[in-house]
């Protein structure tokens, strides 16, 4: 593997430090199904995914984050075929584990396909 060792990147007009690029990139991401076909579709820096219960899942990271207070996010469709809308959330439970939760407005947990989880911040 070749390595470019540079401190700045420029397009001829704007110059940014490579640290901005490295620090700003996602450190881990995963797209998974939590329905009849439970599984991982796409990922990076993920060792496994745990289906905990309806609407509850944990993404386990291969390379942990520097601490558990790192930013992360999750997204999935909020629509249902009926009148219920859903909300999705994620938080870091530990430096190497991101919890995902999905519920209706009334607090009922719900499974869905095509869930995406991202982690940004500093690596261990």
């Amino acid at each position: 593997m070749s390595t470019l060792n540079v401190s700045n990147i420029t397009d001829g007009t704007t110059t940014v430090g490579t640290s901005y690029v490295v620090n700003g990139s996602a450190k881990a991401w995963v797209n998974f199904n939590q329905s009849s076909s439970v599984g991982i579709n796409h990922s990076f820096n993920v060792s496994s995914w745990t289906d905990g219960s309806t609407g509850r899942a944990t993404t386990n990271l291969t390379n942990a984050m520097a601490a558990s207070e790192q930013p992360c996010s999750a997204s999935a469709t909020t629509l249902s075929s009926g009148s219920t809308n859903y909300s999705n959330g994620a938080y870091m439970d530990a430096a190497s584990a991101i919890k995902f939760e999905r519920e209706s407005a009334s607090g009922s947990a719900h499974d869905t396909n095509n869930v995406s989880v991202l982690a940004n911040g500093d690596l261990a």
């Binding site: 219960s53 386990n60 947990a109």
Partner: protein
């Protein structure tokens, strides 16, 4: 030696993902009312485990469990280990991603951890929150 995250990026560009034919079922004794959980190995991680030269030794993760949050950890900088079989990789994953209370410390009579073929995981999730590890070698709702 490169950082683990860099090795993972390089491995992802070079290795085809490997979907494991196994899942790990477990119950957490600290949450007796919780249903059985299903651990799904990541395909890119499995490819790296089978290829070797990417992942750190499992004991670095186990020592890092005792490192206070926010303090430097050992596993990203450890020398990578060689290739594993799929069975060895699953064992590694159990120790890494499942609490020791499940695979090391539990002294009860129930069987709370089991490695099963993918086909044994029910596709009907209607009663997902009632899943338990069946003591007759099956998972039932």
């Amino acid at each position: 030696m490169s950082h683990l995250w860099e090795r993972l990026a390089e491995a992802k560009s070079r290795l085809a993902p490997v979907q494991s034919k196994y899942r790990v079922l477990f119950e957490d004794p600290s949450q007796p009312d919780a249903p059985a959980a299903v651990l799904v190995p990541d395909p890119n991680w499995m490819a790296a485990a089978l290829a070797g030269g990417v992942l750190p030794p499992i004991d670095t993760y186990l020592r890092d469990r005792d490192v206070p949050d926010g303090q430097p950890k050992e596993h990203p900088y450890a020398e990578p280990i060689g290739a594993m079989t799929e069975e060895e990789a699953i064992e590694y994953l159990i120790m890494k991603d499942i609490p020791p209370a499940v695979w090391r410390d539990y002294k009860g009579n129930r069987s709370i951890l089991r490695i099963v073929p993918v086909e044994l995981i029910p596709s009907d999730r209607s009663f997902r929150n009632a899943w338990r590890v069946n003591q007759n070698m099956e998972l039932v709702a």
